[in-house]
Symmetry: none
Subunit: 223 residues, 2 copies
DNA sequence: CGGGACTGCGACACGACTGCGACACGGCGG
DNA sequence: CCGCCGTGTCGCAGTCGTGTCGCAGTCCCG
């Protein structure tokens, strides 16, 4: 589902959560301290950070602020203390969500999925339902299974998913994806959409991701 | 700060939260049931919905699903039950966040601000009464229920709603919507207006949105 | 009060639009 | 040199949208 960095100093909690999140289909890396976590983030990108507040060295709040300042990786905070001060300060520090320990794995997973669903457009990875589009690595996975797209199909998907919900006319797509000048109407776009659907849609007749708006063009996403 | 719709059946809780959120700078409207809430959403747009789960009539989950299906208004759920089932199901239903009662006003406010910060500002949306027209996604909802319009009906509605109150002659509409230079009068516009009314008007005989100005043409909106 | 003009409304047939499979061309690598 | 893969073109079929027609109801004006 997603690559998650877990920053947690307690070895027992760390292994428990790592195991639980792995079972939910995530790839989990771990760090023991805030410094380690920030270094790990710099070394390799991840989709989301689960961050304990009580850390040796730099506090969780400070780590959160630095992560948010550095880039668009969403953060889910994790703490044993459930008092209001933590909630407010944590969210003010830029956390995207907040879970109180002891955390039920199902709860944490639901929160993580909700955050990922929301923060999709902010960074280089776009997640919509079971579809995951990495705009930097130029890879697409469907339910964690890699999907092989041709260059044109990929450009089409990238263009459409750049503005989910917005309708693109065939003319616009021809200009942006094919860089053609308009020469009469062409069934080229329809054809490429059909091929793309065959690869990423479970039911191409009732498409979930690439939808046709009769008379206007195509649209990526819900409704 | 923001306009918030609070859906909560308990009068005491409702007034308490309304007061508290008002003190935090929000404009708060209220509804007692899910039906009332959906109607209120249709009548006037708001920035965010605070939704109690335990409601008479339609359940909070169902209300949440309908709100998300209809459009982009973020939802913060509110419930007395804190068990895992609620959290997971709630977030799966499309809620953006989740607060357990009794809610500290500072916590609720922090959550609301966090959700608002995340939700992108949506433009290109025209709201008139219960009618919502998204000019980018090219979707129309009536009281949060999606309305299926044909391309011509949609172009007609977009043209009329671009200038509410202004009267468009049949000739003008033929040029802008159909791109015909039609000589001679045609009943084409009348026909399309009738079909449009059948879909978006509750009482087509006494139309609320598309009104006829006898001898001149048609007009969108009141008076 | 009556006639004429204007509009609402249902029905129907033609046509446009899209999905979809088949095929040809061309580039690239084995 | 051959074969594969990506890409663009063509044609067919089904669906849905659209324009025309006719009738009935309503409003205006003489």
């Amino acid at each position: 589902m997603a690559t998650i960095l877990l920053i947690e100093d307690d070895p027992g909690v760390r292994r428990g959560l790592q195991l639980a999140l792995s079972r939910h289909g995530h790839e989990v890396r771990t760090a023991e301290t805030g410094e380690d976590g920030l270094r790990a983030l710099g070394a390799a990108a991840c989709d989301l950070v689960v961050l304990d507040l009580m850390l040796p060295g730099i506090s969780g709040f400070e780590v959160c602020r630095r992560i948010r300042a550095a880039g668009g990786v969403p953060v889910v905070m994790l703490t044993a203390r459930g008092d209001d001060f933590d909630v407010v300060t944590g969210l003010e520090a830029g956390a995207d969500d907040y879970v109180v320990k002891p955390a039920q794995p199902t709860v944490l997973d639901a929160r993580i999925r909700a955050v990922l669903r929301r923060s999709a457009p902010s960074d280089g990875v776009r997640v919509h339902g079971g579809l995951r589009i990495d705009t930097e690595a130029l890879t697409v996975t469907l339910h964690d299974a890699p999907v092989a797209l041709t260059p044109t199909e990929l450009r089409l998907l990238l263009t459409l998913s750049r503005a989910p919900g917005r309708v693109f006319s065939r003319r616009q797509l021809l200009e942006e994806v094919w860089e053609h000048d308009y020469l009469g109407d062409s069934r080229l776009v329809d054809n490429c959409v059909q091929r793309l659907r065959a690869k990423i849609e479970e039911h191409p007749a009732a498409p979930e991701y690439v939808q046709t708006v009769r008379g206007f063009g195509y649209r990526f996403g819900p409704l």
